[in-house]
């Protein structure tokens, strides 16, 4: 199955709704086409000066058709957009489920922007396929049939000319448009990303470039990238223009066929004046439906590219997920995160911490990018360990691998002797949680941002955690306390506050094993060192309960309490474990 068909399946479009949209679209264009036919018949018949009463039906029909088109158009627009938007909602939910249930570590490997681009823009491209390609394409098919069937009883040769013209317009124009769209897509993928990167760099680093005297040079580089992009995109201009000129060109054939046929029919005496009028004038109104096809073809090219990216993101097993699984009716308030989380987030400290072990562990984002090599590690229950190493040695990568979010390149990680690969994901998360430094702060209240780690957390627990991590002052300044909105539209959170908020999550969660990534970065030394000491002292229960195990990645070796086991990662990826003297 092609990616496009697979993704279209995820739209779950009900045939009845699609049919209704196509019917409304056909009625819209049909009304215009019928108006042209009936008015042509009306005036040529009227010229023969018949009894006025013979024209009554036609006059009423013309007036009715004149009014109905607008109404049909409105219905068609609404029905089409509704079916497309419903499809996008289903698609997005299915993609979300597929990504959330993927057993492998693809999610950890995805860049943040990519995730947004996939579920945002690319999902939209598939919805646009319904609006711009599927519905108009089906309508064009219906209308082409209607046009040929209308002309056929009047003149077979004229109908034949019309059929050929429609086929040319319906096939050639979309093909050239598709080619233009593909060329544009290629240009966007290849040259535009360079161009965008250049433009961003100049704007972001403008001051530094000016001081370094390199601004002029970079602007010239930008102009060169722009010229390369222009040349690439210019290749699409001709096919794209050809596609729009196809309809007026093929009209020559249809009109010529019709005019000659009308002559033959009238001279032969077999046709009425009305029929001649229809033959003469109808070709000019017969191509409205096929004019939408070039745009449909470009949309198809874009949607196909989007489907390819989406299929790669969700992986091969996406269809095995069950879209019926989500329960209905969950809302964001009061506790938004419950959903399907059955019995998770048990009370703090209630379970004995398991033993975390790594054997011959190679961690990295692939065999060619191994950052940590041949690591053996044993973290006893209640033990607290620091991980240090020069910048870029892969401490974060190690943390993600220990937590089971990134698959080991080689070796294994186990909890109480069972390998992570053999444990259900739920069980792993119940016992061990990692807090990566780039964790998301949700655009919701401060309370929900803490509750995300554990259901049914009381305000007291939240406040206690915020106090413990030193955010009491910050909380005091927030306009609405725990109800303050965070994120883009709410209070912006500074780097240091963010780190401590993530730490407060860990405090609220109090998992048997907690893995922390640079929790004191962006803090002033005194406060950061104090937090670090309280995290690493196994007898200190002010942040994490005594008896739970902790691994803390940090830069601040000076602040590590004496006696703490310190895992040092060397630049070559090997490591050594020593107690802090």
């Amino acid at each position: 199955m092609t990616p496009l068909r697979r993704l279209l399946g995820m739209l779950e479009i009900p045939p009845a709704r699609l049919t209704a949209a196509v019917a409304a679209g056909s009625a819209t264009l049909g009304a215009a086409f019928a108006l042209a036919a009936v008015s042509a018949w009306l005036i040529t018949t009227a010229w023969t000066m018949p009894n006025v009463l013979d024209l009554t039906v036609a006059v009423v029909a013309v007036r009715g058709l004149g009014v109905s088109r607008g109404v049909f158009r409105w219905a068609e627009r609404m029905l089409t957009h509704d079916v497309a938007l419903r499809g996008v909602v289903s698609l997005r939910t299915n993609l979300y489920i597929a990504l959330a249930r993927r057993r492998d570590d693809s999610l950890a490997r995805m860049r943040r922007g990519d995730l947004l681009a996939r579920l945002g823009d690319d999902a939209q491209e598939l919805g646009d396929l319904v609006i711009r390609a599927i519905v108009p394409g089906l309508v064009a098919l219906v209308m082409a049939g209607a046009v040929v069937v209308t002309i056929l009883p009047l003149s077979i040769p004229a109908a034949l000319c019309m059929l050929i013209a429609l086929l040319m317009a319906g096939v050639l124009a979309p093909i050239t448009a598709h080619r233009a769209a593909r060329l544009t897509e290629t240009a966007v993928v290849t040259t535009r990303s360079d161009l965008t990167a250049d433009a961003l760099e100049v704007l972001d680093d403008a001051s530094a470039l000016r001081v370094q005297g390199r601004l002029e040079g970079r602007l010239e580089g930008l102009a060169r990238a722009q010229r390369a992009h222009d040349a690439a995109i210019d290749r699409a201009a001709l096919p794209s223009a050809l596609a729009s000129a196809t309809v007026p060109a093929v009209m020559v054939l249809a009109l010529l066929g019709s005019v000659v046929a009308a002559g033959a029919a009238w001279m032969g005496g077999g046709a009425s004046a009305g029929a001649v009028g229809v033959l003469l004038l109808l070709p000019l109104s017969s191509f409205e439906a096929v004019t939408t096809l070039p745009a449909a073809a470009s949309q198809l090219a874009r949607s196909r590219a989007a489907a390819g990216r989406l299929a790669a993101a969700v992986g091969p097993d996406a269809l095995e997920t069950d879209p019926a699984a989500p329960t209905e009716g969950a809302t964001r308030a009061p506790d938004a995160w419950t959903g399907a989380d059955r019995g998770r987030g048990t009370a703090p400290g209630s379970a004995r911490a398991p033993v975390l072990e790594a054997r011959g562990l190679h961690a990295g984002y692939g065999p060619e990018a191994v950052r940590v090599r041949a690591l053996d590690l044993h973290l006893a229950p209640g033990e607290r360990m620091a991980v240090v190493g020069a910048s870029g040695t892969g401490k974060t990568t190690l943390l993600l691998t220990l937590a089971g979010l990134l698959e080991p390149v080689a070796g294994s990680v186990s909890l109480d002797g069972s390998g992570l690969a053999h444990l259900p994901e739920e069980t792993v998360r119940e016992r061990m949680i990692a807090y990566p430094e780039d964790a998301h702060v949700f655009a919701t209240t401060l309370r929900e941002n803490l509750r995300v780690v554990r259901s049914g957390v009381t305000d007291d627990v939240c406040l206690e955690a915020l106090h413990a991590v030193g955010l009491a002052d910050w909380l005091g300044m927030l306009p609405r306390g725990l109800d303050s909105m965070l994120g883009a539209d709410g209070t912006t959170v500074s780097g240091g506050e963010r780190r401590r908020l993530l730490l407060a999550r860990a405090v609220v969660r109090a998992a048997p094993i907690t893995l922390l990534d640079e929790p004191t970065e962006h803090l002033d030394l005194a406060r950061g060192d104090d937090l670090l000491r309280r995290l690493l002292d196994p007898t200190d229960g002010s942040l994490l309960p005594v008896g739970t195990s902790t691994v803390v990645v940090t830069h601040r070796q000076e602040a590590i309490p004496a006696g703490t086991p310190v895992l040092r990662i060397r630049p070559d990826g090997t490591s050594e474990l020593r107690r802090m003297p």
Binding site: M78, L107, L116, A241, A340
Partner: protein, 578 residues
């Protein structure tokens, strides 16, 4: 909004040559298309009336048939030329605007970026691309409605004045109804749009947080929220569309209604023999053409709003004046003092820095300290003349006591005498060797390069990757810490008398930090002036002078700035360092 902005910004035509040429060419081609449409209708009417009235077969008038074919071909060619020209013009206009935006934005300095932030970069990258659908789709149709519509209307008037009257009466109803519908729905649809946007943002927020939810083991609840928010977004969007599509309904309605009225009206006159057949056919063919460009304008309306918005935003940016370069050469910085006098810069929360004064004497190590968000980096930008302070001034003072305001100094003569290392290192493309060699004075040997690399802690990077390791964009291929060490080595090799280091230890561990301190000491002993921006204490210990920079205290700042926005400037700093 549709009414408040002109559909074709006159500034665009004045400023962007490609757009001007495009409009002229499209207008000319519009006239050609109008002529072709009119010729087609008249020939068809002539053929029809010859046939029905005079029993003369179309095949007996090959001249007319050829004329018909020619008219249609000319129309097709005009469309081809117009579309091709439109694509070219769009490409040229986008290139032109993007280039000018980036250059202007860069020259406006850090203030422009801070005030507008992501907006300017979005505009320069994706925003200007909205010009393509606007110039290719919308503008040609707009111009056709200014050429084809009136010319066809005049032809109808010539053929049959009464029909022209019907068309002329219904035509003004189009803009009238559009304005009425716009007025009726504007408040409502803006409210709905805001709703829609917020639901969309919530949805994207959940999507963006998926990796975090997964790390917390909570990824299996929110899918119901994704569906729920999606459903609410859909129904909210449909609510907006219900009104948005009313305008397209009115357009279609008026267009077909006019055709119907004309058809019935000429039909009735034909029945009573009050009209000839030829003009009747011509009018019937021409009436829909009056409305066609208007309908297309309506259909392309959405393309136009984004395009018009991009154009006006771009031209607004370009209209902002760029601070002028100075006129006098910068004094020798080996002997001159750099000075800030009572400098204040407005930030989101108040003033940061607030009345900062400091004096950097030649040959000293001068640390600028202060809490996050106090305006340390901003103070240096003022010192370098990159940013105009809201109050106070930056000066260069020579040994003989003459004072130059930084703004009066030719920037290039100033910048060639200093090395500036921002928090996020900015490196040229090339190899490790070329990046280092280009700042060193002529004739610097391999030994000096190696020495600098060792001092900056770059030797292990060179050992594993070699001197010729290629660096991508912004030093891509190296980690942030490695890039910083490379930038430090550059500072060391450069002969410039003043070295400014902004948080040089931010991404380094303890051992590398020690090397930076060593490096600062060696710069100092070479007689160079070192300016350190720091909030880590070890750096402050190597400084001869420490200036504390402070923002406005809470009591001093405006009441409106209190509360909700606490900590934002700290975030700006953190953002820069990431």
């Amino acid at each position: 909004m549709s009414i408040s902005r002109a559909p074709l910004d006159p500034r665009l035509l004045r400023e962007v040559r490609a757009a001007r040429v495009h409009v002229l060419r499209t207008t000319a081609l519009g006239l050609v298309q109008a002529a072709a449409v009119i010729a087609t209708a008249l020939i068809l009417a002539h053929l029809g009336s010859d046939l029905l009235v005079h029993h003369r077969s179309p095949t007996d008038a090959p001249g007319l048939l050829v004329g018909l074919v020619l008219a249609l071909m000319v129309r097709a060619l005009a469309v081809l030329a117009e579309q091709r020209s439109a694509h070219r013009a769009a490409t040229d206009a986008i290139a032109d605007l993007r280039g000018r935006l980036v250059e202007h934005g860069a020259r406006l300095g850090p203030r422009a970026a801070a005030g507008r932030g992501a907006d300017l970069t979005t505009l320069a990258t994706t925003g200007v691309e909205n010009l393509r659908p606007y110039l290719v789709g919308y503008v040609p149709q707009l111009l056709l409605s200014a050429t084809v519509t009136p010319l066809v209307l005049v032809t109808i008037l010539w053929q049959d004045p009464l029909s022209a009257l019907v068309a002329a009466v219904t035509l003004p109803l189009v803009p009238l109804f559009m304005i009425l519908i716009g007025k009726l729905t504007v408040g409502r649809s803006e409210r709905l749009l805001a709703d829609t946007r917020s639901l969309w943002a919530q949805m994207l927020d959940l999507v963006e947080g998926l990796p975090t939810l997964r790390a917390l083991g909570r990824q299996k609840g929110p899918e119901t929220m994704v569906r729920d928010l999606g459903e609410r977004h859909r129904s909210s969007t449909m609510g907006t569309l219900r009104f948005a599509f009313l305008s397209s309904m009115v357009l279609e309605l008026l267009a077909t209604l006019c055709v119907a009225l004309v058809a019935v009206e000429i039909g009735m006159r034909l029945v009573y023999g009050q009209m000839e057949l030829a003009p009747a056919i011509a009018v019937l063919v021409l009436v829909p053409e009056v409305y066609l460009p208007l309908r297309q304008v309506g259909a392309q309306f959405h393309a136009s709003t984004d395009g018009v918005a991009a154009v006006s935003a771009s031209l607004d940016v370009l209209a902002e004046p760029v601070p002028a370069d100075g006129t006098v050469d910068c004094p020798d910085l080996r002997t001159s003092t750099l000075r800030l006098v009572d400098v204040s810069v407005r930030s989101r929360d108040g003033l940061a820095p607030h009345r900062a004064s400091l004096e950097i004497r030649p040959g000293t190590v001068h640390a600028i300290a202060g809490p996050s968000g106090s305006g340390k980096t901003t103070a240096v930008q003022v010192l370098l003349g990159l940013l105009e302070p809201d109050d106070g001034r930056a000066e260069v003072v020579t040994t003989d006591g003459s004072v130059h305001d930084v703004r009066s100094v030719r920037r290039q003569s100033f910048y060639t005498q200093l090395v500036h290392l921002p928090q996020r290192p900015v490196l040229p493309l090339g190899t490790i060797r070329s990046v280092l060699a280009e700042v060193a004075p002529e004739g610097t040997g391999q030994e000096a390069l190696e020495e600098a690399a060792r001092a900056a802690g770059l030797d292990d990077v060179v050992a594993t990757r070699g001197w010729e390791a290629p660096l991508g964009r912004g030093g891509n291929g190296l980690s942030l810490g490695e890039r910083q060490r490379l930038a430090l080595a550059r500072a060391l090799l450069s002969p410039a008398p003043v070295v400014i280091l902004d948080e040089p230890t931010a991404h380094l561990d303890g051992a590398s930090e020690e090397r930076v301190l060593e490096l600062v000491r060696s710069l100092h002993s070479a007689g160079r002036t070192v300016v350190l921006i720091a909030h880590r204490s070890p750096l402050l210990e190597v400084a001869d002078v420490v200036s504390e920079i402070a923002p406005t205290t809470e009591e001093e700042s405006a009441p409106a700035a209190l509360g909700s926005s606490v900590g934002t400037s700290a975030e700006v700093e953190a953002g820069e360092s990431r």
